[in-house]
């Protein structure tokens, strides 16, 4: 039986003169080498060396110069947002015909940051990457972004129309400005006003955590079959967790990036959710990982829950499917504000300039245009956070004809939030790892794989380890 594999289907293997032993042995070894190497290549693709320097400079002409050449700009989003962004790019290129903006949209939010990380590792960030306060420190503390203070001082970027609290959200731990906030956003409660009314209940009492819990426990039996009072947000949502910590008067993070609050506070927080989950007031734990990240397919948008946390700027996208299905109207409600702290946290979006940019003048001009140009702001229609320049925000509220559904409500909501001194959190550079630890450990609790106390211990251990890694 020393025949070769050379007949019938064996032909596709290619070689007709080898013995079976030779062929199988060689193929096995080849496969091992290829497989082992393949597993490593993905890591190595991201490996670069050296570290870029972030330049500041103090010249009065910093960032001023000919606006021309190619400018790479990347953002997260899809559909309508891409259309809005492209419209602004077109207006900018009309004003500066010698510049060509190479826009790159990444549809998935998580993928956007992964892509940016790889690009930063290769010192190949786009000239202007869209940025968010939760992730900015990962880049500015590692010298991947250019400090923008000199561009503001020279007038290349004008931030005079933006409230100070918003501008300051773009500063790194060294006090330098690394992001020009272009859209203010916040997380908050959103509930289905129609469902709540049909259940014979008043609006959720968002003034106290215990009142809110009682309200959720009370409404759960008054909702139609298959509709839950709330999403289960103990691990899948970081914003409610910040609000819990901030309203108990403790910092979410220390200056060194470790968790800044007590373990007891975290135990209380997860117990608050566990009480609701065990009573059936939230969706079961098994439904958490199944929930889509696409706004139109979230449980709130599908009418599966009556109440959840949802960033104010998503109200339009989540209202649309509810309207189409005749399942009610959404309403925004703020997080709690106590004498100890404000649960509303600013999670601003903005634009940064890469340390590796070779077209500083065009990058500065683009950010300045996006931030301050009236026609540009109108074209973007506050798609990713309420426009940060107060004058432009007021103009959009006064003339909401260009705004999408639900946008006017969230602009008015944001105006209140900003006037109410929202909390600013100094997110650590490895915030991603903290979010992962939050989700994984609460998942263990909600499936009965860990006690609340042991999950809190593990969460603290993992989150604090991430701060020092």
């Amino acid at each position: 039986m020393g025949g070769s594999i050379d007949g019938g289907p064996g032909r596709w293997l290619g070689h007709s003169n080898w013995t079976r032993r030779e062929l199988l042995s060689a193929a096995g070894k080849g496969a091992l080498l290829a497989a082992s190497a393949g597993g490593l290549i993905s890591i190595l693709d991201a490996c670069g060396g050296g570290s870029p320097s972030s330049s500041g400079g103090g010249s009065k002409s910093a960032g001023k110069g000919p606006v021309n050449g190619s400018l790479a700009f990347s953002w997260w989003g899809a559909g309508e947002r891409n259309t809005h962004t492209q419209n602004v790019i077109n207006l900018f290129q009309q004003k500066y015909p010698k510049v060509s903006v190479q826009g790159v949209a990444v549809g998935n939010f998580t993928t956007y940051w992964e892509k940016l990380t790889v690009e930063a590792a290769a010192h190949n960030l786009p000239d202007v990457p869209q940025m968010q306060v939760r992730y900015m420190q990962a880049y500015d503390t590692r010298n991947a972004l250019r400090a923008l203070d000199d561009l503001v001082a020279s007038g290349a970027i004008d931030v005079s129309g933006i409230p100070k609290v918003i501008v300051d959200s773009g500063r790194g731990p060294d006090g330098k400005l690394y992001m020009i906030p272009t859209g203010s956003a916040t997380n908050n409660w959103t509930y289905n006003e129609t469902m709540v009314g049909n259940a014979g209940m008043k609006a959720p009492p968002v003034g106290s955590w215990s009142d809110l819990q009682k309200w959720l426990l009370a409404i759960k039996d008054k909702l139609p079959h298959g509709v839950y009072a709330s999403d289960l947000l103990g691990g899948s949502d970081d914003a409610v967790w910040w609000a819990w910590v901030a309203t108990h008067g403790q910092p979410v993070f220390t200056k060194s990036g470790k968790l800044g609050f007590s373990k007891k506070l975290m135990v209380d927080y997860w117990n608050w959710w566990e009480t609701l989950r065990k009573a059936g007031a939230t969706v079961p734990a098994s439904m958490v990982s199944e929930e889509s990240t696409n706004n139109a397919d979230t449980y709130l948008a599908l009418g599966t829950v009556a109440f959840t946390e949802s960033p104010a700027n998503q109200i339009g996208a989540k209202q649309a499917p509810l309207t189409a299905a005749g399942k009610g109207t959404l309403k925004l409600a703020p997080f709690l504000k106590t004498s100890q702290g404000n649960g509303q946290v600013l999670v601003n979006n903005g634009m940064s300039i890469a340390a590796n940019t070779s077209n500083l003048a065009s990058a500065a001009a683009w950010i300045n245009f996006f931030t301050n140009d009236a026609a540009g702001a109108k074209a973007y229609a506050s798609d990713n956070g309420s426009v940060s320049v107060t004058k432009l925000l007021n103009a959009q509220i006064a003339d909401p004809t260009v705004l999408g559904p639900g946008v006017l409500e969230y602009l008015q909501f944001m105006k209140q939030v900003i006037a109410n001194q929202p909390t600013i959190i100094d997110f650590p550079p490895n915030y991603n790892a903290v979010v992962l630890a939050l989700g994984n450990n609460y998942s263990n609790v909600s499936f009965g794989k860990a006690s609340v106390a042991s999950a809190v211990d593990a969460f603290f251990s993992q989150a604090n380890a991430a701060a020092t890694s």
Partner: protein, 315 residues
């Protein structure tokens, strides 16, 4: 006899000289044609491979220069990382269930197709199709839909008045949906089995039948031994592939390894370390530990092969 041997030696020397001249004349041209492959091998495979080995002894956050930490990453792996242990447990369960399952299913189908079926090429192509699609993100997304609360599986169960759970949302079943996705890609394994089955001489079966051997005996005493090199080959390849599965776990759990860490495969945790925790030195150490483990396992398989793999060319 001596003269004859001498002639053979002389002939071999002459052949060697001819080969040498051939290489001498065309060698540069051969190397020129090989250059793209050599550049790829050194630049894309060997270079990064060695670089990752060096990085595994460093703290490297992707942005700044790596800092030498010696064996710290390996020490942390073996002594201070409970999440790694969890991912190893999940991965071993995945491998232990999915590799035998794919071998059994593909062998069964190969034997079915080997019975002189009409339209064999069509069936072969159809069964092979999932192997081409199976590793893709699109199929993993589809899988998420199939095993969701309102997914295809539960719709089928509903016909029998059974209300299925969300298979991907429960820790006890989530991993097995990934196993099924792996098993679904049985086509390549099946084609290799089919090739092996066709190499078994029919005379053996006919003789056994004349001696009164039934189907089971013929399968156990002819098919399995004669097919053992192919089983060995498919098994080793399946092990290597299964230990490195990433895409399906990443897509189905949104990159988290949830619910309750039940889909946190080794490669997914490695990815999290590298790209969520910016801990690329540790991720590189994990990659090398996996490489050494797979190499060891493959070596063990080759060592034990002499006891159960029948190549047919043994004395």
């Amino acid at each position: 006899m001596t003269i004859g041997n001498g002639a053979k030696v002389a002939g071999a020397r002459a052949q060697g000289r001819r080969r040498g001249r051939w290489l001498g004349a065309d060698g540069p041209a051969a190397y020129l044609f090989l250059t793209p492959w050599l550049v790829g091998l050194v630049g894309i495979t060997l270079g990064p491979l060695l670089a990752s080995l060096a990085l595994s002894f460093t703290h490297y956050d992707l942005f700044n220069n790596p800092v030498w930490v010696g064996l710290a990453n390996y020490q942390q792996m073996f002594l201070g990382d409970p999440t790694l242990l969890q991912s190893i447990r999940v991965t071993i369960t995945y491998v232990v269930v999915s590799v035998p399952a794919i071998l059994v299913l593909s062998l069964a189908l190969a034997m079915l197709l080997n019975r002189g079926l009409q339209g064999l090429t069509v069936y072969r192509a159809l069964f092979y199709l999932p192997s081409l699609l199976g590793g893709s993100v699109a199929i993993a997304v589809l899988w998420k839909q199939v095993f969701g609360t309102d997914g295809m599986l539960n719709q089928v169960l509903l016909v029998f008045h059974l209300h299925g759970p969300t298979w991907i949302g429960i820790p006890s079943t989530a991993l097995y949906t990934l196993v099924m996705l792996n098993v679904w890609q049985f086509g390549a394994t099946m084609i290799i089995f089919l090739a092996g089955l066709r190499q078994i001489p029919q005379a053996l079966y006919e003789s056994a039948q004349v001696d009164g051997a039934g189907i089971v005996r013929r399968f156990l005493h002819i098919t399995i031994p004669m097919l053992s090199p192919v089983i060995f080959f498919n098994g080793v390849l399946g092990l290597i592939r299964a230990f490195q599965v990433f895409t399906s776990a990443y897509v189905i759990s949104n990159g988290t390894g949830q619910p309750a860490g039940s889909t946190l495969l080794y490669s997914l945790y490695l990815y999290q370390q590298g790209f969520a925790d910016y801990n690329m030195g540790y991720a590189a150490a994990m990659a090398w530990a996996l490489l050494v483990f797979i190499a060891g396992l493959t070596g063990l398989a080759f060592l034990t092969a002499r006891f159960w793999v029948f190549y047919g060319d043994q004395g």
